[in-house]
Amino acid sequence: MSRSSSTTRARAAYRWVDERTGLTELVHKGLYEAVPEQGGWAYTLGSATLVLILLQLFTGIFLLLDYVPSVTQAWSSLNYLRTDDPFGAWVRGLHLWGAYTLILVIGLHALRTFLSASYKRPRELNWMSGVILFFLVLGLAATGAMLPWDNAAYWTATVITNILHYVPFIGDGLRQLWRGGTFVGPITLTRTFAIHIWVLPFLLFTFIGGHIYLLRRHGEFGAWVNYDTSTDNPSREVAERIRSAEPPYPTKRIERRYAAPNKTVDFFPNQLFKDTLVSAVLILFIFVMGLAGGAPLDTIANPATLTYVPTPEWFYLPLDQFLVLTPQNPLIAIGVLVIVGGGAAAMFLLPVLDRSPERRPTRRPEILVPAIFVIFAVIFLATLGVNRLYSL
């Protein structure tokens, strides 16, 4: 069979699939959309987040091949990886370092979106779905930390399930529901496992779908620098920009000056190159750390221990330190629910709270100043937590 005939057959097969699925149109739509030219490196964090989530999915599937979600075998199944299966131990290291990197990257992505005011009309739902994704990732990290059933996991489970107890009226019931009893035990592990591998991933991928759909619908906002005018007649310049905008611009239901960026490039190859490079560097980092650092496994969970000092994961350190600093009854409920819960609600409702058309950070101090205060508090609490736990 000649080479040309095999090419013809392959084309025919592709055409057959394409006619039935619209694959070409889909790929074209996915790759050839305009994105703002300036600040492209900052926009890579979103795609990097997606890539890291997929990495977590794949490494998680590998771990499922070995892990047994029972209090008698969870620890030993992971200990087997550590002692007898170097590849499995590396995959577990990838899963752990992937989670760490994911939390950092999704946090930076949220920070970038916040600073550039990309959450404003008509992208409110992009932000809200993104915040939900952020909390889902944190939830996955917390539930994942409980699964190894070593001492660290046991005390993480004890502390985290106990937080529910501060919810007024139904707190005790919620704690009991998750724990499957009064104390942390076998049922707690199976329920946490179900939450970690079914409930949260299902929600995660549902919201990812919605988030990406909304992103493509409204286009990437970029930042205020993408909408600066340079001529003496700004309104004419904006009108011209809107007239010649490439899809998905001009954005609908937005202030006229922010409807279309001043310069755009195609997603492929310009932005995709940057996205790929950043994701590749992150994955390389995870691979190296998975090998070099691996994933620790403490001694098997011992509820009776009196000497073990629980140490939270680094991303929960600010929260942990906040609880340490909050005076106990009656103010601990205020600390847990009002301040932390209120902060989370404020983050979710940010587009509703900040409805001014201003995009430049210096023009919206009413949002930026409290945010800086909160960021300062988080960093400061983390520093104190490190100081407390490691006696620096």
Partner: protein, 475 residues
């Protein structure tokens, strides 16, 4: 040879230390904070492409103030080291030197860097105007040297409070439990103090300038005395643009300083709380003295002063917003009122006796409706924390509203009244007093120890208080 005693007893010598040290701290803290503010001002000036003469002038003014105060501060420090520590507290000073020799050595090195940089910058400020990145870089290095100076002296101060079991290892001294919280607390406090001092000076200058302008209007008896230069400008009376410009400049400087003073003080309750928490965890007796013991009411004064800073700041913002006709100025006034109420709430004594121990001794440690002396808001800590949380949130809200007006360009310099400057003069005084009270609390909380749990004030007798022979027998 017989040496005569140096006059003075434990009390007078202690008071002498307090006066000199507190004066020294006020100057040193201003120097560090002023450089930080000069950096910020310089950076903003550079970021504005059109150029902003005000920031250049402010940075230069701050550096000049530093030069004047640096010499005074150094003289006070030398007086403190030689006269107070060397002569009166000689035995303790030698012991302290033996413990913290390398820390003091590092401290001395930072002074070399500071002296070189501060005078170079002062002498070449205008020449470096064409090389602003270099000027900014030098300011940054100067600030870094000053910060390390504070860091090393904090090592000594914090080690005296929390010596970590008395291990005099160099690393243990540096990493003692209260060192980091104290340094962060002071870093922020320096900026607040420099901001308040800048606002104080600028308010005074504005006040004087507007007095002169009013004096000019005295030749036109048909006009009512104007409340501000801006008002005079509106009336078309002022024909002297130089004084107008000057008044606008100082009004701008005053509000700039006030913003920093109030803004960074919002962080202090957090930082102070964590500092107190470390003391509680590592030096419980000192913490108990501060919170429940002899110093508990002094600590209440501290909280009250904190509330006063936020209240005065908010009241000033309100007056300035009102004078400019900015949006939401009534909301700002309402916040000032709320802050005043919270401050009163914080100021009211938690118990109507001098200390909690007095209340317990009198068997009155129960709520007042049960015939006791405790207030209805619960125990000491939640009560104080509630006031602090409210202060921080209201203060944050107040600052945000004001910054919003500034960013929307609703504020017009030079319109605020002369009487409003009293608020900024008060702000400067309150911040200064607060620093003094904080120093008094920290230094007295560990009494009778000079180094907690290790050295008491009594076994460090004042060696020069009695006649003594030197050189042995003359036989």
């Amino acid at each position: 040879m017989t040496l005569n005693p140096i006059p003075g007893d434990l009390l007078t010598n202690g008071v002498l230390v307090a006066i000199v040290v507190l004066l020294h701290i006020q100057i040193a803290a201003f120097l560090i904070g002023a450089t930080t503010l000069a950096i910020v001002s310089e950076a903003i000036g550079m970021a504005r492409r059109s150029g902003d003469e005000r920031h250049d002038r402010l940075g230069h003014g701050l550096l000049k103030a530093e030069i004047y105060l640096f010499s005074t501060g150094a003289a006070v420090a030398i007086f403190f080291m030689i006269i107070i520590l060397g002569a009166i507290w000689g035995r303790f000073f030698v012991a302290l030197q033996q413990i913290t020799f390398w820390v003091f050595f590092a401290e001395a090195l930072t002074f070399v860097a500071e002296v070189v940089l501060i005078y170079t910058l002062y002498a070449n400020w205008n020449r470096l105007r064409v090389h602003r990145p270099a000027r900014l870089g030098m300011l940054f290095i100067l600030n870094l040297a000053q910060w390390w100076q504070m860091f090393f002296i904090d090592v000594v101060a914090s080690f005296m409070l929390s010596p970590n079991g008395g291990d005099t290892n160099f690393l243990n001294q540096i990493l003692n439990p209260t060192e980091i919280p104290l340094t962060i607390h002071r870093t922020v406090g320096n900026i607040a103090w420099a901001g308040a001092a800048v606002a104080f000076v600028a308010a005074f200058r504005y006040w004087r300038l507007t007095r002169n302008v009013e004096h000019v209007t005295g030749s036109q008896p048909s006009l009512k005395p104007a409340r501000s230069v801006g008002a005079l400008a509106v009336q078309g009376v002022v024909a002297e643009p130089v004084e107008m410009r000057e008044a606008r400049y100082w009004d701008w400087v005053a509000q700039w300083g006030a913003m920093w003073a109030v803004g960074v003080t919002l962080l202090q309750p957090w930082l102070g709380y964590s500092y107190a928490k470390e003391i509680q965890l590592h030096e419980y007796p000192a913490w108990f003295t501060m919170m429940f013991g002899d110093l508990s009411n002094v600590f209440l004064v501290q909280i009250t002063l904190l509330g006063a800073i936020f209240t005065i700041g908010s009241a000033y913002f309100w007056r300035r917003m009102r004078a400019s006709g900015a949006a939401h100025y009534r909301r700002q006034g309402f916040l000032a009122l709320l802050l005043l109420l919270v401050t009163v709430f914080a100021a009211q004594p938690a118990w109507f006796a001098f200390t909690y121990a007095d209340v317990v001794a009198a068997h009155l440690a129960r709520p007042f409706w049960d015939g006791g002396l405790l207030n209805p808001f619960g125990d000491f800590i939640p009560y104080k924390v509630s006031a602090l949380i409210a202060m921080v949130f209201l203060g944050l809200w107040s600052l945000t509203i004001y910054l919003r007006s500034v960013s929307r360009e609703q504020m017009r310099p030079g319109l605020i009244g002369r009487r409003s400057q009293a608020l900024l003069l008060g702000l400067g005084v309150v911040v200064s007093v607060m620093m003094i009270v904080m120093g008094v609390i920290r230094e007295n909380s560990r009494q009778p120890y000079l180094i907690s749990g290790e050295l008491t004030i009594h076994n460090q007798q004042i060696i020069n208080s009695q006649p003594s022979d030197v050189g042995g027998s003359t036989g």
